[in-house]
Each structure stands twice: as C-alpha cells, then as structure tokens.
Amino acid sequence: MASERTESEGTEDCILRMRGVQKRYGSVLALESTDLDLCRGEILTLLGPSGCGKTTTLRLAIGLERATSGKIWFKDRLVDAPESKVYVSPEKRDMGMVFQSYAIWPHMDVFGNVAYPLKIRHRKADEIRQEVEKVLDLVGLAGFANRPGTKLSGGQMQRVAVARGLVFGPDLLLMDEPFSNLDAKLRDQMRSELKLLQRRLGISVLFVTHDQSEALALSDRIAVMRAGHIEQVGAPKELYYHPQTAAARDFLGRTLLFQGKLASRHGESAMVELAEGALCRVAGADHTRGASAGSLCVAGIRPEHVKIKPWLDQAERTQDALAAQILTLLFIGDRYEASIRLPSGAIANVFLPCDDDWQEGQAVSLSFPPERLQLWPATGAAE
C-alpha cells in the first residue's frame, strides 16, 4: 500500500521520521544509523530477531532514550537531534506506548492503571469510567477493574498494558510485542480490534512483533531489522516475495535453498543444475546481479511453493523433480510440518496438507514451479 514511500524524504503525511539515528548503550551499538518513515494512519511493523534493536527504536521514537546521533521528527517537529541539542521529552510528544515489559504500576488496581492517561488529560470522571470499561471489555478484562495490578496472570498484565496504550487514542501508538503472552484467539481478536480502532481513529501504529503471521496480517508495511539496522522496508507481500537481502529472505518465512551451478541463461530465466541432481528452470527474481553461466549459485524457493507428491513411479521422474523421503511428520494443527531428506542427505522442512495420508518414510517427489524459484549468490548459507 505504501511501499513505494520507503526511501522518500518526508512528505507531509509522514508522522514520524528518523534520519541517521544511532543509539549506543555504553559500548553496545544498539542501533546503527537508521532511517525510518511512518505515515499517518499506517501500521508499520518492526520485525527482527531478538536483540536487533526494535525496542530501542521505539524508545527513541517516544523519547525515552536520546539518540546518540541523528534526527527524529514527529509531526514535522524536530523532537530529537543531539547535534543541535534539541530534545522534546516523552510527555510532550503525545504518543502512546505499550511496553514489552508491561510496566504495570504495582500500586494501582487495573482501573487505576488504565485510567491514568485519561486522568492526565483531565477527562471527566464519568467519561473516564466509561472509556476504561469499554477498553477493558475489549481486552477481555471486564470485571477485573478493581484487582490490584500485581495480582494478575502474565497475560492479564499484558492486556492491562495494552488497554492503557489504547485508552486515550494517541496519534501515534507504539506497541512492543503487545500480544506475546496471549493465546491465539485473544490475539486474533485484539489484532482485529486494533485494526478497527486504527481505521476509525486514523491513528498510526509502530508495532513490534516477533510473530511473522501477525506482522504480515496486521501491517501496512514491515521493516525487517537485523543487528541494529533496517534491512528492508516494504509491504508484506513485497517483502515476502521480493526480499532484497538474504537476511530479509531468511527472517520472513522459510526458504529452501539448493546449491547449484548456473548452467545457462535465457532472457529472464536461467537454468540451474542443482547439486541435488535436478536441472531446474529459474524464472523468479535474480539476486546474483547477473552472475554469468558456469558460476556457482543458490536456488531458493518457499516451502509452500514446492509441489510435493507421493513418489508413485520411477517412470514419472522428470528432470526438474527431486526424489526425497519423509523423515518425520510433525502435526501442527491444520497441516504437517515434515522433515524430508533430499538425495544428498540434506534435510529440508516443508509443510504438507493434512488431507492426504502421509507416512513417515514415504518417498516423495519435489518439483519447483520455475517462476517461484529465485536465484541467489552462492554465499547464501544453505538452510
């Protein structure tokens, strides 16, 4: 939806803008020079491995940390720029934040915690009660209003934190893994409520999650982070199907990688001789920057695009299919996660639908739709 704006220099519908922002904790460089734009009304998700700097980015955005260098604008107002000694404190920024560690105030009950942002804004007592009840209802904590903040289960605490973030409808809401301790049902529900709320109030959300499907389902755009910098920003599909870097590719969804050699090129597509023994046509994106025929390369494909069929007959064997064997079948609900052994002995994980009767030890054939195969340089680590 807004994927083209990734590199654009702040247009007027950009609510948060970071330029060259860097953050250092003592000797730890938590965030390398980072650029980020968040548009009005958008949900942007930061996705990345643990410790990559997601929380740090959020804390910088709201002003709980001061950047080591760089500039941050909020609503076209410079809010943090160490070089020119500008810094606007968090309470002046009028954002909301849900903390990864909840930050429930232990001396207040649930109501007090949630009502707090409203009280600061001098809302009327009546209104506060109504609003709080509404939002507690929304997070499934109706009836918990008078429970002390410390006498809750983990998930309940997290919901209090979420309720507190949602209750006052800030222009920009920062949410740091807000649903990590909730069950799938509740999480789905809250996710859609969040989306509704966001649509209705037109607020922007900077969201952090480690859950890919959550990120993909919720976000207008996703920023994939790694080791303190942003690898790629884009709409979910764009990121999923057109990762620019190996890190982005590997982090979002799985990819089966096959070592091989570029046999030949024919216009947009190329023929790759896989080390596993098949010759495949690759018609997807080429990330090798036009490696020449004969050079080593890697062919990658999303597991769900691999066509897997029971190995019925030797005769059926085609040049572009691989023979493989199911090692283990792991039931994960609506499908199986299967480990299969490739001819070379390498192991790959794929999903199999539950409809068919799969057996451990069964022989299968894998074939790869050419347009789903992508070409990567050989340095990419094999899965």
Binding site: F99, A103, I104, P106, A161
Partner: protein
Amino acid sequence: MTAAAMPQDETSAMGRLQVGTFLYVLLIAVIGFLVIYPLGTLVVTSFQIGALGRETTTGFGNWLEAFHNDQMASAFWNTLSLSFTRQFLALIFGVGIAWVIARTNLPGRGWIEVGFWIALFMPSLPVTMAWVLLAGGKGGLLNMWLHELFPFIHGSVFDVFSWWGIIWVHLVTGVLPVKVFLLVPALRNMDSALEESSRACGANMLKTLTRIVVPIMLPTIVMVMLLGMIRSMHAFEIELILGPPANIDVYSTLIYRVMKQEPPLYGIASVMSILFVTIIIPFVLAQHWYGNKHSHSTVGGKFSLRLQDLGGWKWPIFWLLMLLVLVMTVVPLVVLVFGSFMKIFGMFDLPNPWTTRHWIAALSRQDLKQSLINSLSLGLGSAAVGMVLFSVVAYVSVKTRYFGRGLLDFLTWLPTMIPGIVISLGFLQMFVGTPVFRPIYGTIWVLIIAVVLANVTVGVQLVKNNLLQLNAELEEASWASGGSRLYTFWKIVIPLVMPSVIIVGLQTFATAVAAVGVIAMLGTGPNQPLSILQLVYLDSGRFEPATIVGLLILIITVVAALVAKFFSNRYGVGIAKNG
C-alpha cells in the same frame, strides 16, 4: 529534508531546561549552605584557642592538645570495637528479622514491626536506667532473683556495666530496632519472582536470603550499616551511664566531657569532631561509589508479591521475635511504669514504696498543655517539611541527570557525621550569623530546620535507595502516557516510595519530640516542647517525673507510629494488603 527547514523546539526546551536548572542550583545551594555552614563554624572554632568567654587567639593549640590527649587512643579503640561489634550483630539479626517481617508469612508481622518501632522510640535515658535496675551488677533485680531461685549462683550473671552490657543495651534500645525500621520498607520493594526463581533453582530459604536477597539489597544495607556505624560512634548517653563503672570511655564521651566542662572547650570538641568527619568521609564516598554501581531495580512492570512460606519455622520464629519485642519494649516499659509509681525509683525497701504523686505532679503542670502542643507542632512540622524535602532531594539526586547531583547526595551525609551535641552549636552560629534567618530566629521554624537537618541523612538516603529500587519503566510508562515529570513524581514515584517516606517522617517526628540538645540551643520560651520538661525534672534530680514525661513522649510517638503504620499500609507496592 534539512534541519533548518524544520520548526525547532529548541527555545522551549531550553527554557524549561533553565527553569529546572535554576531550581536545581537553588536546591543544591540551600542544602549546601545549610550543611556546610555548621561544619565551617567547627573548623573556625577548632582554631580558636582559649576558654569560652575569655580572650581567644587563633592557632593550632587545640589540634595539638587533642592529639596529645592520651585517653584518645583507648577511647578510640573502645569506640571502634563497641561500634563494630554491635553493628555487626545488629546487621546480621536486623537483616534476618527485617526479611522475615517483610517477606514471609510470619504471623502478626505487622504488629511485630510496630513493636520494633516502639523499641526504637523508647526514651533512652530512662530505659538505660531500667536496665541498670534490672541488671546493674549485684544489685540488679535479675541477679537477685536468680540468686533467690538458685542460691548457689552468686555475683552478677547479668551485668550491664560491662563491655557486653553496653552492647546489649545499645542493641535493644536502638541499634537493632533501627535496622528493622529502615530495612523493612526496602525489603518489601522486591519482586517475589527473584526469590522464587532462586528456590526453584534449588536454593533453600537461607541460601536465597544470603545469595539473592542480601546481595540485591546490599546498597541499602551498606547505607544502613554506615549510618549505624556513624550513629554508634556518636552515641554517648548509654556509655556515659554504663561506661564509667566498667572504666570504658569512648570517643563521644570525651567530646561530651570537653563540651560540658566549665568553661566548655569547644575548640577541642571541634577538633575531635573534625577528626571524626575526616575518618568517616572516605567511607561515605566508598558507600556512594558502591551504591551507584550496584543499585538494582527490584520493582518492575511485572511486579508480583507473594510471601515466602516459613513452613514449620513459622511459630518458633514468631515466638522468638515476640520474646525479643517483649524484652525490648514491655520489660523496660513495665520497669519504668512501676518505677514511676514508686516514691523513689527502684527503692523497694521503703515501708510503702508506692505513690501516685509523681504522676499528679507531672500531669498537673500548668505548662504541660502548651508543651504538648509545642511538641506536636514541632514533630508534625518537622515530619512534614522533612518528608517533602527528603523526597525531593532524593529524587533529584537519583532520577535527574544534573551535573553534580552526586555532590548533593554527599552533602546530605555531612550533618550526620558531626556529633549531635556539637552540631547544634553550629546550627546556632548559622542561624544567628546569617541575616536571612534572623526573622525566624526564636520561632519554631529554626527548630524545625534543625531537626530536619539532623535527619537529612537518613531521610534522603532511605528514600534514595527506595527510588533506586524502582525500575525506570514505571516512570517511563507515565511519561509515555503524557504525564509530566511533576505529575509522574506525584502519582507514580511518591506513592511507591511512600512507605519509606512515612518511615523517615516518623523518624523525624520521633527525634523532634524527643530532642533536647537542639532545643536548648535554639528553642525559646513559647515554643519549648515536652522534652524540655523532662530536662527540668532531671536537672532537679527528680528522676520519677522525668520518666513520666518520657513516657508521655513515648505515647505521642507510639500514636504517631500507629498512624504511620495505618497510612503506610495504604501505599507502596501493597504487600500489606496481602494479609
């Protein structure tokens, strides 16, 4: 886009910064003045040679004299050994008891805590005399009873006129209770998960205490220990009574004697105090350094509070602590109350030793009511001023990033380092020597300021350590919700540290209503409190009504303690509500 094109918030940010900085500079200037001035007068006095009232000259005579005083060495050694021993014992037991009260399901822990508070507030001179009556050599009641019960036992089994006797009386009258008093609120502010995870790792309760709880709480414990050490080294009232028969002199009794000499040798007292300060300063700095490095937040955003189950130890520990509280409070209290109904305290040999006339005399004094009102105003005023000031100073020194806030923290240690009898002189010089204070000189406000300053160390340090226990995210969540610094301070920080603030308020109240030295130096007619009546009786050799006034003061303090308990149950992370 370039920065120049953006509207900048610089001016307002700078403006706010300056207001904050201004207030900060003001605060540090005021505190600095208040604590350094008295110290400065000491330095000046230390170079004034000659008896008070006579011609004085300037020189090093006092210094030479002080160093030539050959009682110093033994007094110093006594001071150190006595202080270390009782602090060591008090710390071991104090930490244990505080932990049991704060974090376990000990039955009646709330009341036991109040018991320790009361023990702390017992009037020290009468209680010491009660112990003398009970265990003062052969004539001590305990020894006599013991002899009656077991005729083969002769002599004094219990003797407070001894090295261990001094330690014992100190322990039960203050040193141990104060540890519990100061440590309990800090111990309450700890996420139970920290203990629980240790036990889940296979550590028993004792190991959990020694390897998790104590190390996490160490900055507070070190602070309390240092404070205790300093207090111990200053203590002289008990040594004054129990020391001479056993021929034990301590540093502070030396200071006391030169102060009370006629004419007093303030120069030498000053030298001795300054020596004391210079010895203490490195420890304070070390403590400061250690505290900064090792403070840990123990109250976070997932705080949980669950009491440790003492299991089978529950009742034995309960009875043990009950016994201790009994020995610390009820036993001397019974002796005192009985004593106050005796014609002559401790004289059981009279044909009819009992009388109510001391009570009648004390209670029918005309100035009793006014003194009571004065005591209450002084106590409440000091407590109120103290609570606000201590919280603000502690907050500034912990939670802001101002340059030199470490200095502020250090400054608050100074008043404690100077022995109380000496510093009231410094206060006097400050109040009369500074034109700003002239208008309030002679009013109750000087007394309030003096009492507050006398408590500034314990007040600021306790609240500070409590603040350090709060994870930054609790405040951050408030800022993120749009709360200003002040609002956050008021709604989040203060309620969370309130139990400590109340504790230091109570401490301030108690010292205010019991204060004597400061009152003598700064109090004037209309605002003289109850404690001065006690002095009146003591100086006319009438120990019994003096005890009665002491008991009245104790009653006020106990009421204050109960009120404090009532309120502190309402604040903080809320373990009290747990049962």
